[in-house]
Symmetry: C2
Subunit: 348 residues, 2 copies
DNA sequence: TCAAATCGCGCAAACGTTTTCTCTGTTTTT
DNA sequence: AAAAACAGAGAAAACGTTTGCGCGATTTGA
């Protein structure tokens, strides 16, 4: 079904049909012809060809019905299966955009300019929310050139002219560690990834400042999933010269798996070892002991990102915004103060 | 940057540039001009306008570099935040497609033909994997008319001509319940959603066949997330006339929260009550006790869906395929046999 | 050496829209 | 009653590609 066919059926010219469909308040054409066209459109189930629309309009623009389309572009992650983080964020972006009347297409793009230089298939919608990093800066620059509006979520933009919504993972880690320290812990283990992990960097910097005990036998490098955490805890118990009084886990999933392992070998949390996680996933409050963690406000971040993008699309602001959302310490049961009665002994 | 500009810069016609970029084995044009064009394309960071391409090609078709683009369309879910199921599936689809050299765009579409009849913004790519249901059949039919290739994942197609990949949730539930029954349990509680939940239906049918004790005080209707499971367990303990010997939880997340609540009130799993979950999420094997569950092979389903779609795109098959993947019982620790030593007593 | 086949490349027509421009015929203004 | 404004709707040009066709120039085969 094309516009021309609709036009033929209604006995008017295609341009007239177009105008009728696009007039914001049904104010175009005579009542008679307008209703006839709409009737035929409905009967025939006609949907405009989005490619043709976007082509003609030189990139999608706001449409009267308010049904704009925005993109959400995900960088390449090493292991997509194990990493719900990005898709969780993408889902939050989608949810917020939908609630504001926009459609969303999330790009899991095989950007591989080495394989094929023209691999980028983005379709230049109203704008894009970009998450994560790509192979190289060249790709990112090309990507950037495709959109008139971009908001970066959780990362730095290449071009400082774009908006940026972040929650400092570095600071979040500091928050978690500070909490442990305020509870009297200094002998704190790290379980999680080391490479490319800002949380690890924050941990190390904290140690460098002598706020934590420096002991490389307390550091376990493992994938940030259930299996990783479980085996990570196992390794920690084996390799630690002296057991820690607290364990910092790079994610909640890791933390839950770690606690499970500790329980298995008879170590009680938090009486003997405190455990802290990161992210505040749904389950964190519903395991036992309930997990103390630092919440990365992903949903709020996504909401703000979408709002910022729309604001930019509508040209409500022009200067680049850098919005940092605060992380929040969620205190539950898995961390005990060394000086309190709950803590039963420094070393097992 | 357009093809024409590239052409102007290289001193050839735009059609020549197009052919050079699209020739599979660099076999077009003279070496000299070919290299010049590629050089300029690289320098200038030119990327073809995907809308124009798709428009001209009347829907995207396979391209030489193998960088096709396929869609993954998600139905509307009541509560996007709480429902990682769909986005997990979408992620699996994306991962598989990427590994096969295709790009993916996931549509979270605000399909609201009542608000605006032309809301569908799908861009007619190579084909689509469709998940979930939409407001009404009319929308689904329109959607269907937009694609030349569709595979339905986890649901029935509207039009029986399309392929369909499913894992019978009904059967999966039966598998779980059969396992409990084989362990001697008949007084089995249900915790999870009731409305639109095939798992609930399977439970009720099983009860109707007198395989389970019929007792409505054992049925708890709650959201299928951490909070829901936790409070659900609480409600169960209050309302049950006689406590169950086993609890069937509609999802693993619910099951983990339920176990946490049971532990909190001093009920031991599986010694006093067995718990079984569904889905086999990452964490299921890393909580304590390790959760017995039925695995819905979502990743395999997504893989098969993508392969089927590609097979259809390449016209390797024409008849509609209906592929049912088996679910798998994953036996861990949270279910004990009534007759075994592990089970300590029927009622607490 | 000449016709035939091949090659390299330009021309122009599509693809399905939106939008500017133009042309009627009607209504309002002075 | 003549001029000016206006509304309704068609014609046609664009948006950026791909692709069938055709035309010279080169290579091939006998």
């Amino acid at each position: 079904m094309t516009l021309k066919e609709i036009a033929a059926l209604s006995g008017v010219h295609s341009s007239t049909v177009s105008r009728i469909l696009n007039s914001p308040d049904d104010s175009f054409a005579s009542r008679e012809v307008r209703e006839k066209v709409w009737k035929i459109v409905r009967e025939t189930g006609y949907v405009p060809n989005h490619n043709a629309q976007s082509l003609r309009k030189r990139g999608t623009r706001e449409v009267p019905g308010g049904n704009g389309l925005i993109d959400c572009i995900l960088g390449r992650t090493k292991n997509m299966e194990d990493n719900p983080f990005f898709s969780g964020a993408a889902r939050a972006v989608a949810a917020q955009a939908l609630s504001l009347g926009y459609s969303v297409q999330v790009f899991y793009s095989a950007l591989e300019p080495e394989t094929h230089p023209l691999a980028i298939k983005s379709a230049r919608q109203l704008g894009a929310v970009v998450l994560g990093r790509f192979e190289n800066e060249a790709v990112e620059r090309i990507l950037e050139s495709q959109y008139k509006n971009i908001v970066y979520l959780g990362r730095n933009p290449i071009n400082a002219a774009w908006d940026q919504i972040i929650c400092d993972g570095y600071m979040a880690t500091q928050t978690a560690l500070e909490h442990l320290i305020s509870c009297g812990h200094t002998r704190i283990a790290y379980i999680g990834e080391r490479k490319h992990e800002v949380r690890y960097k924050a941990y190390m910097d904290m140690a460098a400042k002598d706020r934590l005990e420096k002991d490389s036998s307390l550091i376990v490098d493992c994938p940030q999933n259930g299996a990783g955490g479980f085996q990570g805890a196992e390794r920690l118990l084996k390799q630690a010269k002296l057991l820690p009084t607290a364990i910092f886990c790079a994610t909640d999933v890791v933390a839950i798996a770690v606690m499970s392992k500790l329980l298995e070998v008879g170590i009680r949390v938090p009486e003997q070892v405190s455990v802290i996680g990161m992210d505040n996933i749904d389950l964190a409050g519903y395991v036992s002991p309930m997990l103390t963690t630092v919440e990365i406000p992903m949903i709020e971040m996504a909401n703000v990102a979408v709002q910022t993008l729309i604001s930019r699309i509508k040209k409500l602001h022009r200067i680049p915004l850098k919005i940092t959302l605060p992380c929040k310490l969620v205190i539950r049961r898995s961390v005990a103060s060394i000086n309190s009665g709950a803590f039963e002994g420094m070393y097992i």
